[in-house]
Symmetry: C4
């Protein structure tokens, strides 16, 4: 394991611990990855079925562009590795994070009929890469959930090209994906989108109430 | 105290501390156990009335299949030990966890008329042992609360055989029980079920609102 | 400072830190005390206006039954010391804790018209000293808030004698008081009552919703 | 870097870590400052775009009254430095804190039509500097959000003189500003105002419900 891999893995483990503490990765849910090398593609990927509050850097797996393990490591990469790889390729991302929060689960279902969640007018949006004003409109597409990972990866690819400026997407009743050039940027994006989804979810109660 | 007991006890204390932090074991509520040996049955059981945020491994008690203390330890095993023992026997569980969360308390009451909570269509369900798809339907039976522990243990036994694939059950206005082959699996099941109960509880507000 | 005082003060500081973490003592709100000696009365009392997340054992003040400082300490005991002393005298309490949580603030206002909050049928009630069954009915009286501390202490005394089995009371739009024979018991009572007030507050939304 | 600056910077970093933990500074949002020297003005200011959970004292920047860096430090001070400077000058504040919480975001939008949030009758208000009774009425003005910082700083100045006793203000769909003579006082004010905004936001659900 190279020093670079070790450092990336330590970063992923630290993010995992923090997000687990916030309840965004309970029950071994969610997964995290970062690019180690582009050509040929090598990624550090969280293993399947591990407790994210206890994830150790040495548990991260090195995978190639087909989600095969290329390190001497034991373990099985996350089932959703194909989605991470697709995002890395289509968006040039350096890190991909996937969380299961109560609010992203609820919103991914409530807004499924509209095909996505529209977020606009919040200062927090400015923290998304390339956004310069709170007047920005972010559309988070919602993709129907599936257990067929190659098919889902294709659907993710189609969705990403249909929404070229989206900073993330939701899998229905499943969770949130976001990414960034760096792990720090991906972490920032997840925190911002989780914050905004919770804000919209909670505001929905009160707005409903006030318009009665 | 054997090394094996010590290790199991340390695992239970760590889970207790984490769950206490999340507010699932406040006020000395809840209890935790794990199997140390099957024949004759020896279990590590949390003592009655202790602060779960401060639980020390050496406070765990060794009990037999009648909930009698078999170690030289002081202390009184949890009143609900008979329920743990029943679950261990009927499900072959290696660990049993019982939490009191705000959301499990609310849902156990709201759905009492239906005899249980039906959870379906969530990706999180896949974290339950043996579940392969989010299309799974989990039915969490609700059992009327009682202070008659032998009678309640019987009722738990009846409920478990009536719902052979349930991964947990609720005691009405009391709390959640879940279990697993290992402590890690039991912890995962509790986290998943708590997450899903909170999701359903919060979604109920908004869904009601939107259908007005 | 005696070893006994030091130990009691360390216990109070630890509880303060934990409750601050849960958001029950924000903004220097709330206060904590414990009896060091009965005759003449000596109590360890939190000082006025300190950050409860940073409270050090050596900041605790030793006061007498008139809330006068009897140690060489600097500082000003909490304005509400007279309420603590009244509870210690009328209930024989060994420790008194007072929290400001979002849910106790809301419930203390919503139920003011009924003179208190009635809590019944929850297993959590069994953690209150002397309660043997979830069928117990706990009535938490609500006292109108005031800045006249001697008058408020009198009103607390009247309320305690009118409700001889209450384990706590609410000051309207202000906070919760509870107590115990020991600090551990007082901490347990606060955790239980905070849990139950949150449960009732959250259930109120859904119950309203379902009865539409 | 002087010892005084270092101490102030350490204080700001500690507050940042605590508020980040509560979810009030997610996604590199929010900013913190404190006065190091009045004539000429020197302030310690958090840099733009850093993770507040990881903020190190040595990352704090020393700026002058025009928000120019005067230390040898690298980095870019927060875009909102002009607002901090305005508050320091107009209120004589020693520290200024700005948080993005879910509840302050929601309330800043819900009450925009009334020009501010009125908070009255809560004991927590007594923690605001100069307030002696819960009967106090605090009016938190809401200012329309903007990316034109010099213009926004002017608007903040106008708002502060129009509301000379306000302890904070909200930027619409953006966040909360508060301040104090000392960092401890500013921290206390933020905690109190965040608590009260959450209380009002949650009570709005139930009050609506009960008046149906």
């Amino acid at each position: 394991m190279s020093d670079e891999f070790r450092e990336i893995a330590a970063g992923l483990a630290a993010v995992a611990k923090g997000f687990y503490g916030r309840g965004w990765l309970l029950g071994t849910s969610g997964n995290l990855s970062a690019v180690v090398q582009r050509e040929p593609l090598r990624m550090a990927m969280s293993p399947s079925g591990v407790d994210k509050g206890e994830l150790k850097p040495e548990q991260l797996l090195s995978i190639d562009e087909n989600a095969r393990i290329v390190s001497a490591h034991e373990g099985k990469p996350s089932d959703e590795s194909l989605l991470h790889i697709r995002i890395v390729k289509d968006r040039g991302a350096g890190a991909v994070l996937h969380t299961h929060s109560v609010w992203n689960t609820i919103l991914s279902d409530q807004h499924a009929g509209e095909g996505g969640v529209t977020i606009q007018g919040y200062e927090m949006l400015k923290g998304l890469q390339g956004v310069r004003t709170h007047e920005h409109t972010e559309f988070l597409p919602i993709i129907e959930n599936s257990q067929d990972m190659p098919a889902l990866a294709e659907l993710v690819g189609t969705t990403l090209s249909k929404h070229p400026v989206a900073h993330g997407f939701l899998l229905r009743r499943h969770g949130l994906y976001s990414w960034g050039q760096t792990l720090a940027e991906a972490k920032r994006h997840i925190e911002i989108l989780e914050f905004l989804l919770e804000t919209i979810g909670r505001a929905m109660h009160i707005q409903g109430r006030r318009s009665d």
